[in-house]
C-alpha cells in the first residue's frame, strides 16, 4: 500500500503544481495560496491516515483527490483547455457555425492540458490506493496491476472521449434563438458624455438611421444605448448590465479602448460584436469584428495620392498620441517602401501651443507638402499658425474631418473612410441637422448594424462574409479573420467642408 500511497501523493503534488501554474494567469500570486492548499492538505491527511488509519483522514484525502480530478482535471483541464484547443479549433476550421476558440497564452493552455493529464494519474493512483487499502484491511496481498484487455481499455477510452467531444461540440455550436416577442435588441456601445460625446452621438445617429432604413425584416430591432462614460471600469459594468439585464442579442460599438473592454464580455455571452476600431487585435473572428481602414491602408492611399500630385519630399508635424503614432508609423514605412524622403520630422506633446519655430524649421527643409495630424485644440492652433505663415500645401490622415475650424485647412487633402454614396452623408445631415457627420465612423456604424440584421444567425453570418457592399464602399474579410479591410478615399477641404476628391 505504501507504494500506491507514495505514487498517489506524488501525482497529487505534481498536479497541484500544474494547477498553480495554470491559475497564475487569472489569479496572479493568489494562485500560490491555492497551490499550497492543494499540496499541504492532501499531504497532511495522508500522513494522518498512515499514522492512525483514521477513516476520516482517508475520506478527506480521497475528497481532495476528487476535487482535483473533477474540479480542476475535468472541468478546467479537459472542458476549458483540452477540448477547446483540439476539438474547438478543429470544429471552427470545418464550419463557421462554431466559433474559433478564445485561447490564452501557450503556457496557460499547456498547463491546463497537463492538469487534465495529471488528474488522470491522480484518479488512477487514488483508485489503486483504495484497492490496496481494502486488501490490506482484509489481510490479503495487494493485487498487482496487470494490463488486461488493452484493446478494450483503449476502445473504451476512445468511446468516452468521443462522447465527451460530441457533448462539447453540441454546446460549442452557435444556435440562434429567435426572440419570443420578435424584437431583437442591439446594444449601441458609445460614450454619451465627456470628450467622446460628439463621436458617440454621431455614431448612435448613424445606427438609428440604419434601423429606420430597414424594410421588410423578419424581426423588429430595438436599440439599447449603453452610455459607457469615460472610465473603463464603469464601461465594463454598463456593458455587462446591458448583456445580462437588457439581454441584448448583439452589440455595435466604436472606439478601440471600449472595444477592448467589450470583446471578452461579448465572447462570454456569445453574441456578435462589431466595432469601429482601428486596433486590429480586437477583432478575433469569433464574436468580435473590426471595420475601419487600417493605418496601413491609409498610408498606402496617402502615398499614392502624394505620388499622383508629384510630391517628392514631405515634412511631418504630428502630435504624440497613440492613434496618430499608428498612422505616422505606417506612413513612414510606406514612404520608405516607395523611396519618398521626409525632410523634417517633428512629434510634439499635447502641451505645445506655439508651433512657429517648428513651422520655420519645416519650411527651411523645403518640403512639397506638410503632413499634419493632431487632435483638438492642437490641430486648430497648428492650423492657425500654418495659415498665418501662408502655408497652404497641407495634407493629413483623418484629422481635418474632425477639426473644429475647417476653414483653416481650406485646400488640405487627406485620406479618410470612403463613402460609396455621398447621398448617405447628405441624408444624414438632413435627418440630423446639427449632428456632426464623422466620416471615419458613420458609414461603418451604419454598415455594422446592417451586417448584424442581415443574417438569421448574426454571428455566423458575419463570420461568413467575404465581401460586403456598404455605404463605406466594398469591404473584404479573409476567412477566419476578425478584421474587415477597406480602402480609404482622398478628401479635400473645400468651402470649409470635406469633399470627396473623386467627385470633384
Amino acid at each position: 500500500m505504501h507504494t500506491y500511497a507514495r505514487r498517489s501523493l506524488l501525482s497529487v503534488i505534481v498536479t497541484a503544481v500544474l494547477i498553480t501554474v495554470n491559475h497564475l494567469y487569472p489569479l496572479g500570486t493568489r494562485a500560490l495560496g491555492l497551490g499550497a492548499v492543494l499540496v499541504v492538505a492532501p499531504t497532511a491527511l495522508l500522513w494522518w491516515f498512515r499514522n492512525t488509519r483514521s477513516r476520516v483522514a482517508f475520506a478527506g484525502y480521497l475528497l481532495m483527490n476528487l476535487w482535483i480530478v473533477v474540479g480542476f482535471g475535468l472541468i478546467k483541464g479537459l472542458w476549458k483547455s483540452t477540448l477547446p484547443v483540439f476539438v474547438g479549433t478543429l470544429l471552427a476550421s470545418i464550419s463557421t457555425s462554431f466559433p474559433r476558440p478564445t485561447l490564452g497564452p501557450v503556457p496557460f493552455e499547456l498547463s491546463g492540458i497537463l492538469t487534465f493529464i495529471g488528474s488522470l494519474f491522480v484518479l488512477y493512483y487514488g483508485y489503486r490506493l483504495v484497492r490496496a487499502n481494502r486488501d490490506a484491511a482484509a489481510g490479503a496481498e495487494p493485487e498487482k496491476p496487470i494490463a488486461r484487455r488493452p484493446v478494450l481499455w483503449a476502445a473504451s477510452a476512445l468511446v468516452a472521449f468521443a462522447v465527451i467531444a460530441s457533448a462539447y461540440a453540441f454546446t460549442d455550436q452557435d444556435r440562434w434563438i429567435a426572440p419570443a416577442n420578435g424584437v431583437v435588441k442591439i446594444g449601441v456601445i458609445v460614450p454619451a458624455s465627456g470628450p467622446y460625446a460628439i463621436l458617440g452621438n454621431s455614431f448612435l445617429k448613424a445606427v438609428e438611421m440604419a434601423r429606420s432604413d430597414l424594410r421588410g425584416t423578419k424581426y423588429q430591432y430595438e436599440l439599447v444605448l449603453v452610455d459607457i462614460g469615460l472610465d473603463l471600469a464603469q464601461a465594463r459594468t454598463a456593458i455587462q448590465r446591458a448583456i445580462t439585464d437588457e439581454n441584448v442579442d448583439a452589440i455595435v460599438g466604436g472606439i478601440s479602448r471600449f472595444g477592448q473592454v467589450t470583446k471578452p464580455l461579448a465572447t462570454a455571452a456569445r453574441i456578435p460584436h462589431t466595432c469601429v476600431c482601428s486596433v486590429t487585435s480586437i477583432g478575433d473572428g469569433a464574436y468580435t469584428f473590426t471595420n475601419i481602414p487600417s493605418p496601413d491602408a491609409e498610408a498606402v492611399q496617402w502615398v499614392q495620392e502624394a505620388q499622383r500630385r508629384g510630391i517628392r519630399q514631405i515634412a511631418l508635424l504630428t502630435q504624440d498620441y497613440p492613434s496618430i503614432h499608428g498612422h505616422v508609423t505606417a506612413l513612414k514605412a510606406e514612404l520608405a517602401r516607395v523611396g519618398l524622403p521626409t525632410t523634417y520630422v517633428k512629434e510634439f506633446a499635447d502641451s505645445v501651443t506655439d508651433f512657429r519655430s517648428m513651422i520655420a524649421q519645416a519650411r527651411a527643409s523645403n518640403p512639397d507638402v506638410y503632413f499634419v495630424e493632431a487632435l483638438s485644440p492642437q490641430l486648430e492652433l497648428l492650423g492657425q499658425q500654418l495659415f498665418e505663415a501662408k502655408i497652404r500645401n497641407i495634407a493629413s490622415v483623418v484629422a481635418p474631418s474632425v477639426t473644429q475650424r475647417p476653414e483653416l485647412f481650406e485646400g488640405t487633402w487627406y485620406t479618410d473612410s470612403d463613402l460609396r454614396d455621398i447621398g448617405f452623408k447628405q441624408r444624414f445631415e438632413k435627418q440630423y441637422p446639427g449632428t456632426r457627420f464623422a466620416t471615419h465612423m458613420m458609414p461603418y456604424a451604419y454598415d455594422d448594424f446592417n451586417m448584424i440584421v442581415r443574417g438569421e444567425n448574426p454571428a455566423v453570418y458575419i463570420r461568413n462574409i467575404a465581401t460586403y457592399e456598404g455605404t463605406a464602399g466594398t469591404v473584404t474579410k479573409a476567412p477566419g479573420s476578425g478584421n474587415f479591410q477597406s480602402r480609404p478615399a482622398v478628401w479635400v477641404i473645400q468651402n470649409a467642408k470635406p469633399a470627396l476628391l473623386s467627385q470633384q
Binding site: 484547443v85 479549433t89 485561447l103 499547456l110 472606439i255 482601428s278 477566419g480
Partner: protein, 45 residues
C-alpha cells in the same frame, strides 16, 4: 518483450505528442486572432 515495461515510454510519447500538437495549435490560433494586444487608438477610433 514485456508489454508493461513499455507503458511509461508509450505514455511519455503520447503526452509529448499532445503537448507538441497543442503548442502548435495555440500559437497559430493566437497569431491569427491578432497576436499581441496593441495600444488603444483612443479618440479617433
Amino acid at each position: 518483450m514485456n508489454r508493461r515495461t513499455h507503458t511509461p515510454t508509450i505514455l511519455a510519447l503520447l503526452i509529448a505528442a499532445v503537448l507538441a500538437g497543442a503548442y502548435v495549435i495555440v500559437a497559430q490560433n493566437n497569431a491569427a486572432m491578432g497576436g499581441a494586444v496593441e495600444t488603444p487608438a483612443g479618440l479617433l477610433h
